[in-house]
């Protein structure tokens, strides 16, 4: 049974042209992909993480490939809020796709400051008749930030306070990007939901390492880095399903190792409202368009007319006939 498929969908209050977005840190600020694809076909773009001031990255080496994955310790390098608003946002705003600005601070105050500044920037853009920022994606994971930062992503109370403070200083919906490096991801999601987050994005990278046995040095200058790619997909899918089951209806943006339309559909069925593609963009700059068309035809084959008809529809296994020992 083949049906006409509508990819337009909702993420909480937001309307998306497609559930396929690109992930923070894997799509820069969009421009570089202009030569490879028509960016307007994307559901949205999540930018490289922005901090109040420009940040330089970590020492090299910063990346290394592992089995079906890669480690990175880029170090949240970015141009800073001011340059972002002046030089990067206008390009993104012109595309007409949903603009998700990933941001972070180095402490409580700078997180709030960053949210406020980006919110103002968005308001100014709108006042000037341009499109603004659709989502502030707050990265509380920061696997690559050394000093402090860790509690923001791992202690529910701290995440709650931080989210609340940021929500209060801006009208732009805040989606909190969660780290998988926790015992209880549901507790984290619930805490930020209570604090007024418009949704959650998960997962960020899993902290890992690799060693060069000849030099006896880590493959990364920072010793540890973030693991991404297909290797982590089962963990991402599990966490999306855990959060979707515990907080029904709460918007989830799922990601982690998505390479194909089938992968994307797995995330929707698990409970994601939309998904982001990360690492795959490096080896295949036009991957998002391929994944989008794969998803469309797969949904058609399976008779799924609307994205909403797939979201959080995991079915239980039939129970086996009872075993009665003789």
């Amino acid at each position: 049974m083949s049906v006409r498929v509508e990819l337009g969908c909702e993420f909480g209050p937001l309307r998306l042209a497609s559930p396929i977005l690109t992930a923070s840190g894997c799509f820069a600020y969009g421009q570089q992909f202009d030569t490879f694809m028509d960016l307007r076909e994307l559901g949205g773009i999540s930018t490289k993480g922005i901090s109040p001031l420009p940040r330089h990255g970590n020492p090299v080496p910063r990346i290394y490939e592992t089995a079906a994955g890669m480690l990175n310790s880029i170090g949240l390098e970015n141009v800073g809020v001011e340059a972002f608003l002046a030089e990067k946002l206008p390009f993104l705003a012109k595309l007409g796709v949903s603009v998700w600005v990933n941001f972070f601070g180095t402490d409580f105050a700078t997180y709030v400051e960053c949210a406020r500044a980006l919110g103002h920037g968005s308001a100014r853009a709108k006042a000037a008749g341009q499109a603004g920022i659709d989502v502030l994606e707050m990265n509380i994971s920061c696997p690559n930030i050394k000093k402090g930062g860790i509690e923001f992503g791992t202690v529910p109370e701290v995440a709650h306070r931080l989210t609340k403070a940021c929500v209060e200083v801006t009208d732009v919906p805040i989606v909190v990007k969660l780290t998988p490096n926790v015992t209880d991801v549901v507790g984290m999601a619930d805490a930020v939901k209570q604090a007024g987050a418009a949704g959650v994005a998960l997962i960020n990278t899993i902290t890992g390492m690799a060693i060069d046995v000849r030099t006896r040095r880590s493959r990364l200058a920072t010793t540890y880095g973030g693991l991404s790619g297909p290797a982590i997909k089962p963990v991402a899918l599990r966490m999306v399903h855990q959060v979707a089951s515990a907080l029904p209806g709460f918007p989830i943006c799922g990601m982690g190792g998505i390479l194909s339309g089938e992968d994307a559909l797995e995330f929707l069925i698990a409970g994601a409202h939309c998904v982001q593609l990360g690492t795959i963009n490096f080896s295949e700059p036009a991957a998002a368009l391929r994944v989008t068309s794969e998803l469309r035809s797969l949904m058609a084959d399976l008779g799924i007319a609307r994205v909403a008809d797939a979201i959080a529809t995991l079915r239980p296994h039939p129970t086996e006939p009872e075993h009665t020992p003789p």
Binding site: G25, F33, T35, E65, A68, M70, N72, P230, F282, P285
Partner: protein, 267 residues
Amino acid sequence: MGAAQLSATVAANRPLTGGYFVLELVTAEANPIAEAQPGQFVMLRGEWGRDLLNGRAFSVLQVIDEHRFCVLLKVFGRGTALLQAMDVGDRLTVTGPLGHGFAAPTSERKQLLIAGGVGLPPLHLHARRAVEAGQGDRIEMFYGGRTAADLVLTEELDHWGIATCLATEDGSRGVAGRVTVPLIERLDRARREGEAVELLACGPTPMLAALRTIGLARELPTHLCLEEMMACGFGVCLGCAVPVHGPKPYKYCCTDGPVFEAREVRW
């Protein structure tokens, strides 16, 4: 940057000595790699499983026409091993041309090209282009390896009439020892004769580090083609950072380079 990602097929896979091999790739449509400058590179990826995730970077060795080009490889790890095993007709994905290459010779300065190992392609292409532009006499090649088998594609250099100095550490071909030995003699001569020269180099990092020291000491324009770990090749992963002096602590090998000035590199 005019780069594109296209599907290509292997037109030839020619083994050379020393474990080196040349892949000739052909694309259905005309490809932008035809305009590649010496030092520019492509990212190659076979139809591998999800195990090897990212493309691998290879300098353009030769452009045959707007459909065909060649790269020179040596097996380093799993990706290059898979590329070596490729048969004629096998398909792979090519992204390029990427980065910025070497500048063509000028009338002011003689260009001394120093190549080591898989660093040959940029300089081999540079020599080819110089000859095609009638500037063959503006360049000289210094090419070193461990042993004779490590020196490949030298026939063409002879054929073009490029002044070439070969060096092998075991003395099995050309001068015995590192390529820097004859180079330094050449630089001394240039200094004595007041001849203006500049250095263009590509090869193992230790070799480039040595040339950097030499170039800086003698205050010669020294252009180094560097290698860094790369995931994307077009400026988005920020993995290929190169420590530099100047306003920012890092530049990017894939977009700012791979050719850098010796004095800007922070080593």
